[in-house]
């Protein structure tokens, strides 16, 4: 799977389509480590640094002037300058201040207290004297990956497929997309991590049949059941825990160490640097205990040393409850998919935490199958993302059909949740449900969008709140308010509400509760992108070209089929305008391109009318021959149809 990297100077073009400006990379943005890969003709290549390292630690160190360092260097600063370094920021993506209570004590950085009077809102971190959102920190990591790719490919990279845990909720997905935008990357698709891994296995190792993908990363756990055959990757069910991973193993071991230390040194408050050191040491111990059966580690903090001996059996006792949580979730997801362990042909292991022998053992027992880890579990997701990035830009015969991981609904009377889209529904999906007013003359209705499986609203994740106003006075129960949910292929939700008797409508792209507002996003783009305007201009230019080429191709096709409808003079005129569009597209001015495309539309209007007349006559002729004319609807009126169809 991994080809040897060609050595080259920046500016050279090492890959066949390197001169193609639309090259797209695959990014696995992980809790602990991130990886970037590229695919060419179905062959993936993980992009490594000069030392051959694929993994970029998802650690960002900030200088007082706000500049950032990402990766191994930042990780080294973690101990010396803990106040300037952020790690595991993925755990905070899309999290609100209220969520932090659940994570309290497990976070290796300082969280700002919420501003007074502010309700909800995105978490902010205090790092090196700066106040930063998790989106900004993630954007630094993505920028580093983008730069690695640009340096190695010798060209600008603007498009990416970014993976997210399948179990990420809407807020976390939106936060990830926003982070990419800040990093100057257009997200072609957010792909679920287990699905990306399945893609890599299916295409590279030829896995066919029913497979489970068990993905235990640093901070997240996902399990997906997929059917893979003949190029179709169909997710049957997915589940997980967005706050369970190898980090929790570290915490369990760190607590064990700190408990021993407290016993020996006498009970007292644990200092932040002690906690950080214990965590780092615990991680080392975990990694060693995957290879050897015991070891001893020393905690040397505040000039006091304590030695800690731990063997694998003790380690496994400490993590047993965590591993059992994952196997419980696996059972529930198999149940959802309507399959049993016997139906599952194999289990694909993903994520560094699947290197822990106990995890492998438990997974093998549960599915009664030897787990597959032929592709490096740390790199497989990025490889899948790269394959999908190539499929989306260059084209492919494979098809990914994914599902929504969590049920979506709205709050109804009494704090109950009415589910509108159940979990494991194939995406894209759109569903609508009607609700009504409960008071006479009620002029407004509050819509509270929720995600989760529980029955009560306060136990589910709040995604957004908005108010449908302008409902005309009616008796209770007379209004008909249709709430529509649409989830796109990225798993992102849009909600709209409409009062059906009057047509009053409100639409929201779900983001407010924990996301960034458009203003915050704009501000951050302005602050962080030195060349934001140039990037934006380039994107708009690219869009204008795509649109103009679409219009050109449409006219070329029409001339091929119906060219006889134009006389020579008319045809020459159309071709002159087409040439003008081609010239404009070759240029750099977006306004000229748009104007030329508009001219083309005008120049071909008469031609289009003649083609329609011919089409309708042909249809009518066909009808009368077969004697199937529908009397109710004269075919001549059909030309007025498209306006209706457009909605």
């Amino acid at each position: 799977m991994v080809d040897l990297l060609q050595i080259h100077e920046p500016g050279e073009t090492p890959l066949p389509h390197a001169d193609d400006a639309s090259v797209a990379i695959g990014i696995d943005l992980g809790t602990t480590n991130s990886v970037v890969a590229i695919s060419t003709d179905g062959k993936t290549q993980v992009l490594r640094d000069d030392d051959g390292q694929a993994l970029v630690p998802s650690v960002v160190a900030y200088a007082p002037d706000g500049s950032a360092v990402v990766g191994a260097l930042a990780k080294r600063l973690l101990l010396d300058r803990p106040d300037c370094v952020v790690s595991s920021v993925k755990r905070l993506m899309g999290r609100g201040v209220g969520d932090l209570k659940a994570l309290a004590g497990t976070l290796p950085f300082e969280v700002e207290p919420p501003k007074e009077g502010s309700e909800g809102g995105m978490v902010r971190l205090r790092v090196a004297g700066h106040s930063l959102t998790p989106v900004q920190v993630s954007a630094e990591i993505l920028t580093a990956l983008k730069e690695r790719a640009e340096e190695q490919l010798g060209q600008k990279v603007e498009k990416a497929v970014v993976t997210v845990p399948a179990y990420f909720d809407d807020a976390a997905r939106t936060a990830t997309r926003d982070a990419a935008r800040l990093a100057g990357l257009e997200v072609l698709r957010l792909v679920n991590e287990p699905t990306a891994a399945a893609l890599a296995y299916g295409l590279d190792k030829g896995a066919e049949g029913l497979y489970a993908v068990y993905d235990l990363g640093g901070g997240t756990f996902d399990i997906s059941i997929l059917r893979m055959e003949k190029g179709v990757f169909q997710v049957l069910a997915t589940g997980g825990d967005a706050a369970l991973g190898g980090d929790d193993f570290d915490h369990a071991v760190a607590e064990h160490f700190l408990g021993q230390r407290a016993k020996r040194l006498g009970a007292r408050a644990i200092t932040p640097s002690e906690a950080k050191m214990a965590l780092m040491t615990a991680r080392l111990a975990k990694e060693c205990l995957s290879r050897q059966t015991e070891g001893e580690w020393v905690l040397d903090v505040d000039e006091r040393q304590t030695g800690h001996r731990i063997d694998r059996a003790t380690f496994e006792d400490l993590i047993t409850p965590l591993v059992e949580r994952t196997t419980d979730i696996c059972r529930a997801v198999m149940d959802d998919a309507g399959v049993g362990p016997a139906d599952v042909r194999g289990v694909v292991l993903v994520g560094g935490s699947t290197r822990v022998p106990m995890v492998r053992r438990r997974v093998a027992e549960l599915f009664d199958a030897r787990p597959l880890s032929d592709i490096d579990p740390d790199e497989v997701v990025a490889c899948g993302a790269a394959l999908q990035a190539e499929a989306l830009t260059v084209g492919s015969d494979t098809l990914l059909l994914d599902v929504t991981p969590l049920s979506l609904g709205i709050e109804t009377m009494g704090g109950m949740v009415e589910k509108i889209i159940p979990r494991n529904t194939p995406i894209p999906v759109a569903k609508a449900q009607d609700f009504t007013t409960y008071q006479d003359g009620q002029g407004a209705m509050s819509i509270h969008v929720l995600q989760g499986e529980r029955e009560m609203a306060d136990q589910c994740r709040s995604l957004a709140k908005f108010v449908l106003t302008g409902i005309p006075p009616m008796t209770a129960g007379a209004a008909r308010i249709r709430v529509s949910f649409a989830v796109d292929a990225d798993g992102l939700l849009t909600v709209s509400a409409r009062e059906e008797t009057t047509g009053v409508e409100q639409k929201v792209e779900v983001k407010p509760s924990y996301g960034l507002t458009e203003e915050e996003m704009g501000e951050m783009l302005y602050d962080s992108l030195r060349n934001a305007q140039a990037d934006m201009d380039r994107r708009l230019l690219a869009e204008a070209r795509v649109e103009a080429n679409r219009a050109l191709n449409a006219v070329v096709s029409a001339l091929n089929i119906d060219g006889d409808l134009l006389d020579d003079g008319e045809r020459a005129q159309v071709e002159r305008v087409m040439a003008a569009v081609r010239d404009a597209v070759a240029g750099e001015d977006r306004d000229i391109i748009n104007a030329a495309a508009e001219d083309l539309e005008k120049a071909t209007r008469e031609f289009a009318e003649r083609r329609m007349d011919r089409g309708i006559s042909a249809a009518l002729a066909g009808q009368s021959v077969d004697g199937l004319v529908d009397d109710d609807e004269p075919a001549g009126n059909a030309a007025t149809e498209p306006e209706k169809q457009d909605h």
């Binding site: 999908q388 249809a619 498209p642």
Partner: protein, 214 residues
């Protein structure tokens, strides 16, 4: 790849509208313009015609899947990631309609419910949700009581087995009812199938409860 099928369609359908992209004529329900290949908005087809099936309760699920995959290969948003915003939106609408049709038709209960409404729209305003059949009610209550009293897993297994058999039988009867155009019978059987499905969920819950008591 669609061309031939669409030309044939054009001969049968009187509705022709201009393609949004090349402005030329496109038959009402075509997925792509036969002139410029631009993806078209999803028409108002019912689920059966969208997936190229006869309007019939008996569905060959394997053939249904093949057709669904084939259509998603052409229409899924992944095929349009680098296209214009309009094409991306239309592909999303097409894929959404396709998912809705597939999810409805592959499941016998949702298929039966849909078919009753499709055939009997207006005839049965209250749909198949009204519980007015004492036989169905009694059966549901008895099974539910038996389940609540089941303490051993073999007892739950026995109820599960019986429920599975009842579901199979109910589906076979539904097929006969639709064949005979007996909409009222089909509606009653759909209600019964809903109850049996719910019981299936309760069996799962009961099993989980017994397992956690161990």
């Amino acid at each position: 790849m669609q061309k031939e099928a669409q030309k044939a369609d054009a001969a049968e359908r009187p509705r022709v509208s201009p393609c949004w992209s090349c402005q030329g004529p496109v038959p009402g329900e075509a997925l792509f313009c036969h002139t410029c290949q631009a993806v078209q908005p999803p028409g108002g087809d019912d689920h059966f015609s969208r997936l190229g099936l006869d309007t019939d309760f008996d569905v060959d699920v394997a053939a249904l899947e093949r057709r669904y995959f084939d259509l998603q290969r052409q229409l899924h948003p992944d095929r349009f990631a680098t296209r214009t915003a309009r094409e991306r939106l239309l592909s999303q609408q097409q894929a959404t309609s396709l998912n809705e049709a597939f999810e409805t038709l592959k499941d016998p209960l949702r298929r039966a419910d849909y078919l009753v409404h499709l055939k009997g729209a207006g005839v049965l305003p209250e749909g198949c949700d009204a519980v007015n059949d004492p036989v169905i009610l009694m059966e549901a209550m008895e099974l539910r009581e038996a389940l609540a009293e089941a303490e051993a897993s073999h007892e739950v297994d026995a109820i599960a087995r019986r429920t599975r058999e009842d579901i199979d039988e109910c589906i076979a009867e539904l097929s006969r009812a639709f064949d005979a155009e007996d909409l009222e019978g089909a509606c009653r059987l759909t209600t019964r199938l809903k109850y049996l499905r719910k019981l299936g969920d309760e069996i799962r819950a009961r099993r989980a409860k017994l397992a956690s008591n161990d």
